[in-house]
């Protein structure tokens, strides 16, 4: 079990993360989502000890990774902005990681490289973006660290490579109960993969939920009213996702019988429930008024 307990992080004068607390069990896949600049990567860097915490703890099975430093080898993270190994060959990179991760499996890495037609004597910087992404995942898997932190792992991959990457990761989850913490803007890809979603906004985790639970409580309704006016009810209890003419799509996080009654009382011409996706919850939680000004 990985526990993040009341983590705080300031960079310069700015507080980036505040009171971040959550747990991850073995074999669990968590999606970390948020707007650009919300602090997703900063959070991963904090968990991976690339950044020092201003406050809070990171625990593995109840033990702080600061008191038992060996625990840090149970967490894998690759900071793609600061790769020290760009001009090294894949084989050499493996040797570095073999030194850092005591359980690193060099023969597994070689087997995976061969499986995906990557040459171990090739330089990292000679690889295409997609192949780098694939190699990063192979490196993560070969590390045998139980907790993998993956920052935009599907970014820039073509469909085939992307499916390969997902299959490699899913195998690790099924066979070895490894845990994945994934940030991605590709919500369609992310949705069927994850057990839970954490939404990061304004320094905090504002939501920690399972999509199936949300689906039970929330409703996304397509409503057509007789007038052009948007009822105050929609803004107070819901989140308007889209308006085109008199057709409105409104998301209600907590759809009660009382609310259903109020909506029925508006006497809508049409009131239809639509499927809820991760993208809806993202929009409903993370869209600001100014984002809509473009359309209005």
């Amino acid at each position: 079990m990985l526990t993040i307990n009341q983590l705080n992080k300031q960079i310069g004068q700015q507080t980036i993360l505040e009171d971040i607390t959550f747990e991850q069990t073995p074999g669990e896949i968590i999606g970390l989502v948020g707007r650009n600049g919300a602090g997703k990567s900063t959070l991963l860097k904090c968990i991976a000890s690339h950044y020092l915490l201003d406050d809070g703890q990171i625990l593995i099975n109840g033990e702080s990774i600061e008191t038992n430093l060996a625990l840090k080898t149970q967490i894998f993270y690759l900071d793609e902005d600061h790769l020290f190994f760009k001009n090294l060959s894949l084989n050499q990179i493996g040797q570095f990681y073999e030194a850092a991760y005591p359980q690193f499996d060099m023969s597994q890495m070689m087997a995976l490289l061969a499986e995906y037609y990557l040459m171990d004597n090739q330089q990292y910087q000679q690889l295409s973006k997609g192949m780098r992404g694939l190699f990063n995942i192979i490196l993560a898997i070969s590390s045998h660290a139980p907790y993998l932190l993956l920052d935009e792992p599907f970014d820039g991959l073509d469909v085939v490579v992307c499916k390969n990457v997902i299959r490699l990761l899913l195998d690790q989850v099924s066979e070895n109960q490894r845990s994945l913490l994934i940030t991605s803007h590709n919500l369609v890809m992310l949705e069927p993969l994850i057990d839970r979603t954490l939404i990061l906004k304004e320094r905090h985790i504002i939501q920690d939920y399972r999509l199936e639970t949300v689906r039970q409580n929330a409703r996304k309704l397509q409503i057509v009213l007789k007038t052009n006016q948007v009822p105050s009810l929609f803004k107070a209890d819901g989140r308007i996702l889209n308006i085109s003419g008199r057709v409105m799509v409104v998301y209600f996080a907590d759809y009660t019988d009382e609310l259903a009654g109020k909506i029925a009382a508006l006497d809508p011409v049409l009131c239809e429930s639509l499927p809820i996706t991760l993208a809806d919850i993202f929009e409903a939680n993370l869209t600001n008024e100014q984002d809509y000004q473009v359309f209005v």
Binding site: L170, V188, P275, T277
Partner: protein, 128 residues
């Protein structure tokens, strides 16, 4: 096998229904081995925990059975036990459907034709 990502149904429920549909259509035969949780997760690019949840439900309902160390199989005897609670739920759904249909002035003959058609579809494919 396809999962509809835009459906309002939870993923595990979709997997349950898909397997049941394939059994009824004869695509999956009693005693046939089906993909393990791990293989199915790979095929569908889906969380293994979700697939595992679906398989547990299917096992509880007697649709599939898991033989330890050997794999997951379609159960030999299908739907011999009538689950009264589930049947009552279906009856309730039909009541709603009939109400909606009548409201849309779909008459009894038309509706029963549809039902017969659906039954027929399972039959024909099962014999293929």
């Amino acid at each position: 096998m396809m999962i509809d990502k835009s459906s309002a149904k939870p993923y595990y429920e979709q997997i349950v229904l898909l397997i049941k549909a394939q059994v009824l259509q004869g695509i999956l035969q009693p005693g046939e081995r089906i993909a393990s949780v791990r293989e199915m997760a790979r095929q569908l690019l889906m969380n293994p925990n979700t697939v595992s949840k679906a398989y547990k439900m299917l096992e509880m309902q007697g649709v599939i059975m898991t033989v330890k160390g050997r794999g997951t199989y379609i159960a030999e005897q299908q739907a011999t036990v009538r689950d009264d609670v589930k049947i009552a739920q279906i009856k309730h759904k039909i009541q709603d459907l009939v109400l909606e249909a009548r409201y849309l002035s779909v008459d009894k003959t038309e509706l029963t034709t549809w039902i017969t058609e659906q039954y027929g579809r399972g039959q024909v494919n099962a014999n293929d």
